[in-house]
Symmetry: C2
DNA sequence: CGCTTGATTGGGAGCGCTCCCATAATCTCT
DNA sequence: AGAGATTATGGGAGCGCTCCCAATCAAGCG
């Protein structure tokens, strides 16, 4: 038992059993050339027999890099961040990495800095920061440039490698969808103003409105929760001129839906609503919610790609990757009541009804 | 720069700067006694000056244990598992650990075994398995007994250290709540039959029914999704005798809610529904959902407690911890229509209405 | 005063691995 | 045939830390 501390066999044990040097075992393990087939299989057999598994900690010590990827994300059960984290973990594991996450409760500079430091203590191979606020960027600037790092959903203006979903395009599609349905204008219930996601969605909404020459109503601010959507909805529900709402996410939309229901404003008959995220439940809201679906899988893959390029030391040509979300049309969007009425009248006049 | 591979200063650098041996630095770092106050502060100053941070990988190599806790969980955005994972990470980080998670797509023996092996390659200090199926237990039995391991939401019959929420008690409370409202019996839309959670909830529902002498309707099987809840709801909605439903989770309840709505059966007027989990959105369903709220924070704390006891080698007296969920009463439960009718009639007869 | 005791420090080994370099043995080419 | 490249192996150093085992010095005691 060359190894007295832990029960697990070490490389030396394998070497002894196979009658080779530890170096040869290492070569077999790492797929190096210059090992005879016969030797290789002898080593392989010894590995099998002992149930040997290489100690990644020792490897990390000598190489200076673990196979760990650190993720900093917000501590939330929000579908977006969660899906993203899960998707990233999936692709990272498939690529032979292990993911460790630090969830922070608030996205301020200090918490994020601390999380980053802890990751660096672990000698992670790279870091992914999913923290779409400006303060996150400030914290990230603390990290020396030699640690591979990519941001997800960050500031498009900064130079850090960045992967995002195209919030602007998504919001544009949502707003246009509502406009195309015949609404004069579209109201927006936005996410927290320090999130880049919110900002992008506002921007897309606004530019769709402008392009259509529609009047721009004031933004109704909220956070991401159904509760705040409900509050926003209570206000909106008592304004008869509100016939179309683009909510910054699906939970917000859920809250709005309920507020509308309570005041007897029917969706989509009286007011149309579009959400964002396409949470799995959105199809079962009352009514099923039309929403915008980001491709979290694509974001995760892009983030890993960029990160691996940085880890391998490749100069990454493009430091920005964007994926475009798609509109999922369900039942929460319809004709505005006045236009529908006019349409009916017209048909009646033509003797159709 | 005593350290030529990476830019980060090592213990030797600190020692040199402070004019002491590496051993003394180590002692300061680990809070050992027998270090003079003056020496200690000198070392501290050197640490500060260099921005030294101990290399946890090296420490892990020599001690044979990292400060990592491995978690095996299902890859899902289900609120329950996600909240649990987040809560666990929180408490673990507070205790100075780092959490790495392996999410598996299917909870079969092979996937879980693989995840466990990968964790052990990292020399994690302990493992938490959040995988409430029997196959998970089979996989866990592969792990040698010297690696600290605790299960969450597992089989109460097995001997592995286990932390659970009391599904039976929760289901009992939900069912009794419905029975107390005056319903003759309660239907149950259950989760997948290979989850212990489902089994526990079925058990609680059943025993509540028996205790009340109520007739036991057939179980309506589903998975955890809103989609399957909707399908179950479509069936239930066309059965007039169904006036009360206990759904195994909130998403299921959401699907049922919509199916009821579509067929014009009003909740809670015609049929009452109780869910499970208390997802943040449940308060904004139409109508707000009465549900059962498990205490994920408590589960997380208990799991860490048990795990730390095992890590420290303490013989754990109790290897089972259970927390009882609480009923959150909202608007989806009411009197059954026939009884309400009778109540009205009675009141009318008494000349009250 | 010699001898134990405790406080305070340092020196070295070694965790399990990968890297660099040496050593053969075989093959290729002028 | 001898110099060089190519293939196949082993030996040793060392990653940054913690552990074990001295060594030193002051104080305490018979």
């Amino acid at each position: 038992m060359g190894n007295r501390t832990s029960g697990a066999p070490a490389m030396a044990d394998v070497a002894r059993l196979a009658g080779v040097s530890h170096q040869t075992v290492s070569r077999v393990l790492n797929g190096h050339p210059y090992v005879q087939e016969q030797t290789r299989s002898r080593v392989q057999a010894a590995i099998e027999e002992l149930g040997y598994r290489p100690n990644r900690v020792a490897r990390a010590l000598v190489t200076g890099r673990s196979q760990l990827i650190g993720v900093v994300a917000q501590n939330t059960t929000l579908c977006g961040p969660v899906s993203l984290l899960a998707a990233f973990e999936q692709v990272a594991v498939a690529a032979g990495f292990v993911v460790t996450a630090h969830r922070v409760n608030v996205l301020d500079r200090e918490s994020i800095t601390k999380a980053l430091e802890r990751h660096r203590d672990q000698r992670v191979a790279g870091i992914v920061v999913i923290a779409p606020t400006a303060s996150a960027h400030d914290a990230v600037d603390t990290v020396p440039p030699d640690v591979p790092l990519v941001m997800v959903d960050g500031d498009v203006e900064r130079s850090t490698p960045l992967v995002t979903v195209d919030q602007v395009a998504g919001a544009l599609a949502a707003t246009n969808h509502l406009l195309d349905a015949g609404h004069r204008t579209v109201w927006h219930v936005s996410g927290p103003s320090d999130w880049f996601d919110s900002l992008g969605r506002i921007k897309g909404w606004r530019s769709a409105l402008r392009a259509a020459g529609a009047e721009e109503p004031p933004i109704v601010p909220a956070d991401w929760s159904a509760a705040s959507g409900y509050r926003a909805g209570q206000v909106l529900a008592r304004m008869p001129e509100v016939t179309a709402i683009f909510a910054a996410n699906d939970h917000l939309a859920l809250g709005i839906l309920r507020a509308m229901h309570e005041r007897g404003r029917r969706v989509p008959h009286d007011v149309s609503i579009v959400g964002f995220d396409d949470v799995p439940e959105a199809a079962y809201f009352i009514p099923p919610l039309t929403t915008v679906k980001p491709d979290f899988g694509a974001v995760a893959r892009d983030a890993l790609d960029l990160l691996m390029a940085r880890i391998d030391g490749n100069p990454i040509g493009e430091v920005r990757r964007t994926s475009t979300p798609t509109l999922v049309s369900r039942d929460s969007v319809g004709l505005p009541a006045d236009r529908a009425f006019r349409a009916v009248r017209k048909r009646k006049a033509r003797g159709v009804g």
